[in-house]
Every structure is written in C-alpha cells, then in structure tokens.
C-alpha cells in the first residue's frame, strides 16, 4: 500500500537527519557553553560603550579584551573577583572573563577561535599546552611586552623556568601548582601513628596504609588525582628524564622514556599495590578528592590547587607533606610545576595589547598574588608576595599552604626537574593516563603496556616533528 511506502520514505529521511546530527554532535556536546555571561560588568564605563557601538572612535569607551579561562567552582569565583577589581581600578580597560570549560577544552576552543578569526586576547593554557602555544605562531611572548616594568627575577624560579625558552619568558605564570601528598590525620591517630610524622618514602606510604587498613580506619590506602601527571612528577622527583633532548627543552622531543626501567618499576609498584587494595584507583583529574574527603583512604596525591577546597570540606584534620621517594639509588630532582599560564594572542590590536599587559601586570602584583594564593592554594607566583605571606605569619598559621612551596624550593634544578615539553602533550598525557588505567585497573602487563604507550607517544612525536621540525 502507498501508506507503507510513505512510511519508508519518512524513515529514510529520519535516518539521514540522524546521521547529520550525529556528525555535528562531538563539536556541540562540550559541557554547557552558557557559563553565566557574568552580569558582573561593574566597570563604571561599561554602559557608555554599549550605547555607542556604531561610533568608530573607540577612545571614549574602554578598550575591551576577552579572557578565556578554565577555572571553575571556587577558583572561578576568585578569577571573577580579580577581573572585577581590575575593571574598577582601570576604567579605561575592560576585561571580559569567560569560563570556557576544562583546560583541554579551553585550549581547543582558543585554537579553533583563532582559526575562525575570533580568538580571545588572553587565554589561560595549562602546562601541557605550552609547546603547542610556542609553536603556534599565534602568540605575543610576554617578554617582548615588558618595557622594564616587571623584573622577571621576581617570578619564583621553578615557575619562571618552566615557561621560559632560552631564558625568555613566553607567558605570564598565573596559577601554578605542583603535586603533594595529602593525608588524614584522624586516621593516623586511630591507627596509633604519629600524625606529625607523615611518610617520606613509598614503602612508608604502603606500610602506614596497611596499618590504617588493619586498624579498620579505612578501606584502602591511597589514591591519585591526575595519575599521568603524578607519574611525570615521579620522573622529575627522582631526576629521571621523561623525554629526550633534555625533556624537549634543547630541541623538540622525539622519544619518551616512560618505558625505562624506572617507569616500569613505578608502574609495577602501583600495580602491585592496587592488587593488594592499597592503591584505590580514583579516576582522573579531581575525581579522587571526593572519596578522600569521604574518608575511604588516608592518602591522596593531588595538586596543591585542591588545598583550599579540601580544607574547606574535610571533616577531619588534613595534613600535607612532600611527595614520597622510591627506595634505590636515585638522585633528587624536583617536583614539577603545573597549572596555567596566561598567553597573549597576536590578534590583539596595539591598544588591546596595552590593556592585556596592564592586566597581566595586575595579576602579578604582590597584593593580588597573595589573595590568589589564599583563595585557591596555588603558588604565589612572585617572590615579594611570598615574603609578604611569610611576614604576615600565614605559613605558620596555615602550614599546609607552605608544604608545596617548600617542596619546590627544596629540589635540585636539573634538566629532568624543569618539566617536560612535548608537542602533542595533550594526547600523550591521555595515552599515559590510559596506560596507567590498563595496568592498575585492568591488570595488564606493565612492561608491555608501557612499551605500547611509548610507541604510540613516539609516533605522535614523530608526526609533530614532521609538521614543526626545523
């Protein structure tokens, strides 16, 4: 009957529509873009500009610059406060901050927007995207913007070095953090351990974990946020290169060393501890924070930037300490700086560049750096800010905030400890995150998993070199 035929036709149309929408899905599906378009345009001059959009002379209104960042939750509030006070203080400029999703999403969006000619003026990029930005030909290095107003020696050294090439700083360090070990002091007490004597080696982490588990104070021993990053930290902390060419700093890296004896030892230990129930795999990024706060295990490896949130939410006494070391004859390196840096895109007009530089200087001013540190747990990026905090007695009052800082200042400055630069780092970190899950969660053979991961990463590096190689 004809009706059947019509049904079939309709079916095919639907089918086509489905394929169409499916093709568009990945691009559109990233978490809600409608991050509240901040009504916080408290800048007094703001309405003036909106009333006269047609006027070509922009001098009467403030110079507007867009700032894309990846700071959500309580971090995002501190960023908004920073932007609001800047706009109040400098009515001739107007910074429009926008939360653009996770670090990876923010980077991707910024690059896509650049391609489309709608790049933000300032974008926050995490350490993983550093090489991508350096090679992009799309940025203005901050060292060229500085007319002697900022003394770069003011920037805390390990942070400055991470974002410097040949001694020149390319972006404004904004939110810097590193990894440290958080622990639950209440559980220490329950297991008869001294809460002021945290473990210093992995063997001790394991021993204490087991004691706490035996005492019935917790189900597991420890978990890690950002597992692939913790692995990178272990390489640097034990002065092991993660990639060739001095971790990609004396030339593009073409080979990664994750499948070295050291790498295999680390992952092998993690796998063993996971099998024994000591390592509780808690997912990537900040997912492991919740079970730690829920007192399921006493130890958590996590970024210092979680400190503010953890202290606020924990219903137990929180301790923090340096990353533990593995037994064996390894030199001491340092823990690596992670977090974000502010990059200026080269689409900025001279006026916008001026505004951007003013904003960068403002974020770096000691007073702001102090507020930033207290609000989030990220490092104060300037030495003066650190001194101010010290004078104020902040670190004595809040010793947990000093831990990470003391940790990075205690390390040795070597090529291995400066942090690795890799072109396709976003992918490689994902490859490593997957490899760790394969070994720790799915019980895959450690040596084989790491060899495969290294092959995949090396292939990505080779492709990158083909594109950007000299």
């Amino acid at each position: 009957m004809n009706r059947r035929r019509i049904v079939l036709l309709l079916t095919l149309t639907l089918l086509l529509a489905l394929v169409l929408s499916a093709c568009a899905a990945p691009a559109a599906e990233s978490p809600e873009q409608e991050a509240p378009k901040e009504e916080a345009t408290t800048a007094p001059a703001a309405p003036a500009q909106e009333e006269k959009p047609a006027e070509p002379e922009a001098k009467e209104g403030p110079v507007t610059i867009t700032f894309w960042h990846a700071m959500s939750g309580s971090r995002g509030e501190v960023v908004q406060d920073l932007v609001d006070t800047f706009n109040e203080k400098f009515p001739q400029y107007k910074v429009e901050a926008e939360y653009t999703g996770s670090y990876a999403e923010t980077l991707t969006k910024a690059l896509a927007a650049y391609k489309a000619g709608e790049a933000p003026i300032i974008v926050q990029v995490y350490e993983v995207g550093t090489q991508t930005m350096l090679d992009s030909d799309a940025i203005i290095p901050v060292y060229t913007m500085n007319q002697g107003e900022v003394d770069w020696a003011e920037v805390v050294e390990p942070i400055r070095k991470y974002y410097s090439i040949d001694g020149n700083l390319y972006c404004m360090p904004f939110n810097s953090s590193t990894a440290m070990l958080y622990y639950n002091k209440d559980m220490f007490e329950k297991a008869g351990l001294d809460p002021d004597k945290p473990p210093t080696t992995w063997a001790e982490v394991e021993e204490y974990s087991k004691k706490i588990m035996e005492a019935g104070a917790a189900e597991g021993g420890f978990s890690m946020g950002w597992p692939a990053w913790i692995l990178e930290q272990m390489f640097a902390w034990h002065n092991q290169l993660y990639a060739n060419n001095d971790n990609g700093r004396s030339g593009l890296a073409t080979e990664i060393y994750v499948n070295s004896d050291f790498g295999k030892m680390v992952l092998g230990e993690w796998q063993r501890m996971a099998e024994e129930g000591v390592l509780v795999y808690g997912g990537r990024k900040y997912k492991a924070n919740d079970p730690f706060l829920g007192q399921q295990f006493p130890f958590l490896f996590q970024s210092t930037s979680s400190l503010g949130g953890i202290l606020k939410k924990a219903e137990f006494k929180v301790g923090t300490t340096f990353l533990p070391r593995f037994e064996g004859d390894y030199e001491k390196g340092n823990s690596v700086v992670g977090g974000g840096c502010l990059w200026v895109m080269d689409t900025a007009t001279p006026e916008q560049q001026e505004a951007a530089w003013e904003f960068l200087k403002y974020t770096f001013s000691p007073e702001r750096a102090v507020l930033w540190h207290k609000g989030t747990g990220y490092f104060p990026t300037s030495n003066t800010a650190y001194e101010m905090l010290k004078e104020e007695g902040w670190f004595e009052k809040e010793p947990n905030f000093a831990t990470a800082f003391n940790q990075i200042l205690s390390g040795n400055d070597t090529p291995a400890s400066q942090g690795v630069l890799l072109g396709p780092f976003v992918r490689i970190r994902d490859v490593m995150g997957t490899a760790i899950e394969e070994a720790v969660v799915n019980g895959a053979d450690v040596a084989k998993t790491l060899d495969n991961a290294a092959n995949e990463a090396n292939q990505l590096l080779a492709e990158y070199k083909q594109l950007y190689g000299d």
């Binding site: 489905l18 899905a25 599906e29 969660v441």
Partner: protein, 293 residues
C-alpha cells in the same frame, strides 16, 4: 502519486531548503573531512602536509583503534538486541487495555526526551561507586560490587544499559504504533482456533510487526554508533583504560582534544563507510524477510 506540477521550477524551489541544509551540514563537511584525511594538519590548521593514505594505514595498525572497533560492536549489539527486545516486551504489555494506560504510555516515552548528557548524569549519579543509590542496592541485595570507574567490563555494561534505556522511549512509541495498527481479526481468529498468547505473539504479532522492528533495528544501530558521545563523555570518558573507548569517542579525543584533525577525519570516514555498509547489509538480508502488508 501521479500528480504533476504544472511548472518545472516549483518542485525545485520546494526542495531547495532541504537540499541546502543537506549541502551545508552534510555534503560540504564530509568532503572537507575526506580532504583532510589525506593530510597531517597542525593544531591551528596553518601547516599541512600531504601524506596520502598514511592516516588510514595507521588506523588499521593502531591497536587502540582496533580496540575501539571491537568495543563499538559489542556496545552496538547490546544496545540493538537487548534494547529492542526490552522495548518490544514493554510495548506489548503497555498495549493492553489497562486502567490508566495513557499515563503509563506517556511515562514510558520520557527517557527519549532527555538529552544524552542529562541521561548520563542520571546514570552516573545512580551508579556512582561511592554515593550511588543503585550501586548500593546492588551490593546489599546481590552482593555485587559495581564500580564502573575501575572495572572495565562493568563500565561497558553500564554505558550499554544506559544507552539502551535512553532509546527505550523512542522504540516503544514505534512499537506501540505498530501494535495498534495490527489487524485484530487475525489475532481473534487465532484465539478462537485455540492458539495461546505466546503462540499468537510469535506466529502473528511478531511477523506483522517486522516493518517496525526492521526500521528500529536500523535506527538503533545508527544511534549506537553515532549518538552516544554525550553519554560516554559525561560518564566514563572512554575509560577505565580503553574499556569504553567507542569509535565516536576516540574520534573526539584524537580530533578535539589531541587536535589531530587529519587522523580524526580519517576515522570519521571509516566510521561513515562502516555504518553505511552495515545499513546496506541490513537492508539486503534482514530487509528481505520483512513482511509488509
């Protein structure tokens, strides 16, 4: 339909909107994808190297891509067969004249109205290993420790069930419509001849329903391959390890996170060809068994 348009231009004019939409959103991007799949492209798209078929040869030798293909098929088979069977069962039950059946039917359709992301959130909350109600119930009632974050097989099962559930409403609407248009005299005649409910279903209802089933079979296959990105992204993110790294999700990771546009384009081409081939096969083999009245 032998009606003729008096003019020659009018039909084209009427078709124009859909043709334009298909061109802009389907043909042009597909051609672009095909073009890019022969290149290695930099993150900003400002550098491009022609590499011929290398993206494709690499795909075929990439163990993680082969894993994605296998995972996708496992997932699709579950979503299509289990999903359709469950929907049909529910539809047959809901087709009975019960009191308040209008309410049941409306409620059954609800899951389809949710966006994949919301569906993902609901399931993630429900099955959360530490705070989820459903996972807690599983543990106290059956002693099953369900943790989709650390158990690969459970993770795949988890997204499969969630995805099948999401399609349930859609399938039920179509099955109900199909069931209502069945000629009642056949069923009555069979009942008078002494055929039981089970037999009536398999001998009469099921064959007569086959056009609907076939249509849903194809729609669910397409859904399982293309439309599950949001669900995976919200819940497992392809993990743990590569346990739920479906083809669409790997494509996203390579293309949108890894900024490897050429490689991702090659994947989209492979995906398209694979699903097109699958649809043709279904039409040829399953389609020939469908009984249209």
């Amino acid at each position: 339909m032998q009606t003729r348009f008096p003019e020659k231009t009018l039909p084209y004019l009427l078709l124009a909107p859909s043709i334009i939409i298909v061109l802009i959103f389907f043909v042009v991007p597909s051609v672009q994808s095909l073009y890019l799949s022969f290149y290695r492209v930099s993150a900003l798209g400002n550098k491009k190297i022609f590499i011929g078929l290398e993206n494709f040869t690499r795909l075929l030798t990439d163990p993680s891509y082969l894993n994605s293909i296998i995972t996708s098929f496992e997932f699709a088979i579950f979503v299509v067969f289990v999903g359709l069977a469950a929907s049909m069962a529910v539809a047959v039950v809901a087709n009975q004249r019960l009191r308040g059946f209008g309410v049941y039917r409306t409620l059954l359709i609800w899951p389809y109205a949710l966006s994949p992301a919301i569906a993902g959130l609901i399931w993630a909350q429900m099955m959360d290993p530490s705070i989820g109600l459903a996972s807690h119930l599983l543990e106290i009632l059956f002693g099953i420790r369900f943790n989709y974050q650390t158990n690969g097989q459970q993770a795949l099962l988890f997204i499969s069930v969630a995805a099948a559930w999401k399609m349930l409403g859609y399938n039920i609407i179509f099955f109900l419509a199909g069931l209502q248009s069945l000629p009642t005299e056949l069923l009555e005649a069979a009942a008078i001849d002494g055929a039981g409910a089970w037999r009536r279903f398999w001998k009469i209802t099921f064959p007569l329903l086959s056009p609907t089933t076939f249509f849903l079979f194809i729609m669910n296959t397409l859904y399982a391959f293309f439309q599950v990105f949001g669900l995976v992204h919200i819940t497992t993110e392809g993990g743990p390890g590569r346990a739920t790294d479906l083809m669409v999700y790997k494509l996203y990771r390579d293309g949108f996170e890894g900024l490897n546009t050429g490689y991702a384009s090659a994947q989209s081409i492979v995906l398209l060809i694979m699903v097109a081939a699958l649809t043709i096969l279904q039409f040829r083999y399953a389609g020939s068994r469908v009984h249209y009245q």
